[in-house]
């Protein structure tokens, strides 16, 4: 029952968020600021994580395929597909749920408990729109870019670890990458990326916006933002995979 109530509140929140901003110029400025916070601010951690996931997945897939029967370039192919289909979009999203989600929730939550949201409302500004729309839009613009970037880096990381550990030569790895490449997989991954980025930003903004109380509650909201974002990411990962991979 509580779930449905929260879900209804979430929808009402989105309805308030997706209205025309009071001043276009201010909105554009917010977009630049938020894109910088979310996108550029997450660049380093995503670089690090995706490179290592690519590297680790190459080693593990290499470990599972040391039969000598299968040609080794298959390692490259499997690394490519698993990173494009799952690791790059989902792991990036989960990491950003932690980083960006908690940030959004605590920022908006703090505005809520210090009455900054009330101050906006009294001025006649739609506070849900003002505090959240730019964050959601910026997230939906920049997070999928980070996912694309993570895909590329994970493959580079894979090539490096394959070569460094002697599992597979760079030539074979690249041959594997180019074998039976399906553009559809990237479409699938980007569909996930757009969905996840919307989920992370909107769920976290919602958690921030419904904060009541003080500093303690801001902390709670921030934790909830991460937990609910992650749960919804995993859930939609399943749904989208089911819908798009086995029609």
């Amino acid at each position: 029952m509580r779930f449905f109530q929260h879900f209804g509140e979430y929808l009402l929140f989105l309805k308030a968020v997706f209205t025309k901003p009071e001043k276009g110029k201010i909105f554009v400025k917010q977009i630049f600021i938020e894109s910088n916070n979310i996108g550029v601010g997450s660049f380093a951690i995503i670089s690090l994580i995706s490179t290592f996931i690519g590297a680790v997945s190459t080693i593990q897939i290499g470990y599972q395929l040391v039969s000598g029967i299968l040609p080794d370039y298959l390692i490259g192919r499997i690394v490519r597909d698993s990173n494009i289909l799952e690791f790059a979009p989902t792991v990036t999203a989960l990491v950003l749920a932690g980083k960006v989600g908690s940030n959004i929730a605590s920022e908006i939550g703090t505005m809520k408990v210090t009455e900054q949201v009330d101050a906006l409302e009294i001025m006649g500004i739609n506070a849900a729109n003002y505090t959240s729309l730019a964050k959601i839009v910026s997230g939906v613009i920049t997070i999928p870019m980070l996912v694309l970037y993570a895909m590329m880096l994970s493959l580079i990381g894979g090539a490096i670890s394959g070569w460094a550990s002697g599992i597979i030569s760079v030539e074979s790895f690249v041959k594997g990458l180019r074998t039976d490449f399906m553009g559809y997989n990237v479409v699938f991954a980007m569909t996930k990326a757009y969905t996840f980025s919307f989920l992370i930003t909107s769920v976290s903004a919602f958690q921030g916006f419904r904060t009541e109380g003080g500093a303690l509650e801001v902390g709670e909201s921030s934790t909830k933002a991460v937990v609910y974002s992650c749960m919804s990411i995993i859930f939609f990962d399943y749904i989208i995979s089911q819908l798009m991979l086995f029609k």
Binding site: I26, M111, Q116, D118, A119, E121, M123, G124, I125
Partner: protein, 242 residues
């Protein structure tokens, strides 16, 4: 002028505002006083529309706020300036940007005009050379003054101040009081002040509404307090004299 009629508000089972009616006059400093927990802040929040009462009406110069649609409400709100108890300055914006915020949102002023107006408002509250500082880097009294500057940036018709001088030293309190009073007279604003501070009541109070346990207990001019014969009001006044 703001007319409050038969306002009731309950939170759960707690009846916080009990059938309150009161008039708040234009060009005057209207005071809402009463003991802590009496419902002053809730009443003020009802007036500015942050809390919706179950019954009653709140009329801003003929505009019945609770009956208005969303657009019309926004138009009333553009006439409202509010100083929050904890100032509620935007902490991601510096002093200048805080005061400029309503101007940027609601006017088509050029940057130059905005800056002029900001500096005028900040000058009005005797704050100069703090433009580029952030709220976390200025004192409580300075924050209150920035809050007032932001509240008056758009020339409001109604100014609400929730405990404008709580937590301030007596000297700064008087400065803030004088400021609010001057602004009220100068622009003929309907000013509503929520306070425990009896000093400021005697300095600037004109129309006084005394709230006791959620009900309006007494209303009148400050000169009438002594002769009111209202036991609770007199006790409340006595407690704050020393």
């Amino acid at each position: 002028m703001i007319v409050i009629e038969n306002v009731n508000k309950t939170f759960g089972t707690k009846h916080v505002l009990k059938d309150i009616s009161a008039n708040l006059y234009k060009g005057k400093c209207n005071f809402i006083i009463g003991a802590s927990g009496g419902g002053k802040s809730v009443l003020m929040k009802c007036m500015v529309g942050l809390v919706t009462p179950e019954t009653g009406s709140i009329t801003f110069d003929g505009r019945d706020f609770l009956k208005l649609n969303y657009k019309e409400k926004i138009n009333v709100r553009k006439d409202i300036g509010m100083l929050f108890q904890n100032t509620a300055l935007f902490d991601s914006l510096n002093v200048e940007e805080n005061v400029a915020f309503p101007l940027r949102m609601f006017t088509d002023f050029t940057e130059e005009q905005i800056l002029d107006r900001v500096n005028f408002c900040l000058g009005r509250v005797n704050l100069v050379n703090l433009n580029k500082l952030f709220p976390s880097n200025i004192s409580g009294g300075q924050k209150k003054r920035v809050g007032i500057a932001r509240a008056i940036a758009l020339n409001p018709k109604y100014l609400f101040c929730d405990e404008p001088n709580s937590g301030l030293d007596p000297l700064t309190s008087r400065v803030i009081d004088e400021l609010i009073k001057d602004i009220t007279k100068e622009y003929n604003i309907t000013t509503v002040i929520n306070t425990h501070d009896m000093k400021s009541l005697f300095v600037m109070g004109e129309n006084i509404v005394f709230i006791h346990q959620g009900a309006k207990w007494w209303e009148g001019e400050k000169e009438g307090i002594r002769s009111s014969g209202n036991k609770e009001l007199l006790a409340f006044m006595e407690a704050s004299e020393f």
